[in-house]
Amino acid sequence: MSLLSFGADGWGRLILSAACTTLLLSLVALMIGAVVGSGVAAAKLSPQRWLRWLGESYSVVFRGIPELLVIYLFYFGGSGLITLVGQMFGADGFIEAPPFLIGALAIGLISGSYQGEVYRAARLALAKGEVEAAVAIGMPRWRIAQRILLPQVVRYALPGMSNVWQMSLKDSALVSVTGIVELMRASQVAAGSTRDYFTFYLVGGACYLVLTLVSNHAFRRAESRLGRAWQSRTAAQH
């Protein structure tokens, strides 16, 4: 038990800070994924055939390749690219890509392929008449997106987003292969130096479980908050 303390020879502090890194990594990945995902959803719903094809192939590729491979591809590929650019400017030797950014980018792009599906489904769940009504009263396209589409798409997408967030949280464990000290890596380091593998992997797993449970709770609260208008309307009808 003393191994887990927060003192000088305990591992508590390392694991706690690593849990924060995991959370930060997943959050950045979620934001990158939100940008990419809305692009993918827009491309898939576009009237242009080549854009639809582009969105379709993006989601097939990123949902069909193992996450571990995507991370390796980005880590080594990104470093290779940066080294190449560095050589052009006269630097020599291997330059390592910043692992945090590369990891967040890789997880974010995977997350984006799943988020694209969530947004697309949410957009399709919207009643057609709402957009038509907005067009009929002469709203410009931007105003329609801002007032009609966005608020409703967010509400419909929230349950799906909860799943994608949990997936990103768990995928972030894979980024440990690039050496950044997040929860998985911290458990590995602590387990390796104390030779107490079982305890530290168990603790690491428990930390992930806590993160999952807390975020689950947060999403449920957000859902009930965004669903208020809907609830009061149905209550009035009865």
Binding site: I65, S176, V177, S187, Y197, F198
Partner: protein
């Protein structure tokens, strides 16, 4: 710029590791399926203790990353003398078996939830009709519930199968020489990362494509009634002399 000879050579070398990846996938798929049915029956049990256990199992295995579960089994269990001296050690010493164990335990939790959703979607009238005919519980399960459930579960189950294929790549982290593992081996020898990983990615994409097609085939075969309904009715021939 693109070295096709190297690419095809790498592709062949990686394909040689395909049996390991497929072995991981198929054994985890089967073990996970059987385990999922067990968990489902616990989850649907009337006893609080049993359903609570199943709930906890699903929560734990869906709430933590597979990587940590795999490391817990591969590195964690070996530290106990009791396990090292028991009859299970020859199995748990093998990374392949540890990987299959972790994959099946994890996929079982997801599959159990998929099957539960399908079970709850079976129309009550069908079960009541079966009971009214005097079917025993077992017969009811075999003839009425299971076939309907399988059909309902199929779309979500295909997603889970793809996720499982992608998860097998993690086995390379505990020294199983699957496609990803061999890819890393080749990279350490040649230092040509991008080409090798792109080849490996192509292999996984092809594998997933085949699985999607298999599921689509199964889905088409299991929904004969929908297919018949969609067929356009033959045009009525005008009667002679009209």
């Amino acid at each position: 710029m693109i070295d096709f000879a190297f690419l095809s050579d790498t592709f062949l070398k990686l394909s040689a590791a395909l049996p390991v990846t497929l072995g991981l996938f198929i054994s985890a798929f089967l073990c996970g399926g059987v385990l999922a049915m067990g968990i489902l029956s616990l989850r649907m049990s009337r006893w609080r203790v049993l359903s609570g256990f199943a709930r906890g199992y699903i929560l734990v295995f869906r709430g933590s990353p597979l990587m940590i579960q795999l490391f817990l089994i591969y590195y964690g269990l070996g530290q106990f003398g009791v396990i090292r001296h028991s009859f299970v050690w020859p199995f748990l010493r093998e990374p392949f078996i540890c990987a299959v164990l972790a994959l099946s335990l994890c996929t079982a939790a997801y599959t159990a939830e998929i099957l539960r959703g399908a079970l709850l979607a079976v129309p009550a009238g069908q079960v009541e009709a079966g009971l009214a005919c005097g079917m025993s519980r077992w017969l009811l399960l075999r003839r009425i519930i299971a076939p309907i459930m399988l059909r309902y579960a199929l779309p979500a189950y295909s997603t889970e199968a793809i996720l499982l294929v992608k998860s097998t790549a993690l086995a390379s982290l505990v020294t199983v020489w699957d496609v990803t593992g061999v890819a890393q081996q080749i990279i350490q020898r040649t230092y040509r990362t991008m080409e090798v990983f792109v080849c490996a990615a192509a292999i996984y994409l092809i594998l997933n494509f085949i699985i999607v097609q298999l599921y689509a085939l199964l889905e088409r075969r299991l929904s004969v009634q929908h297919r018949v309904a969609k067929k356009p009715l033959p045009a009525v021939k005008p009667l002679a002399g009209e």
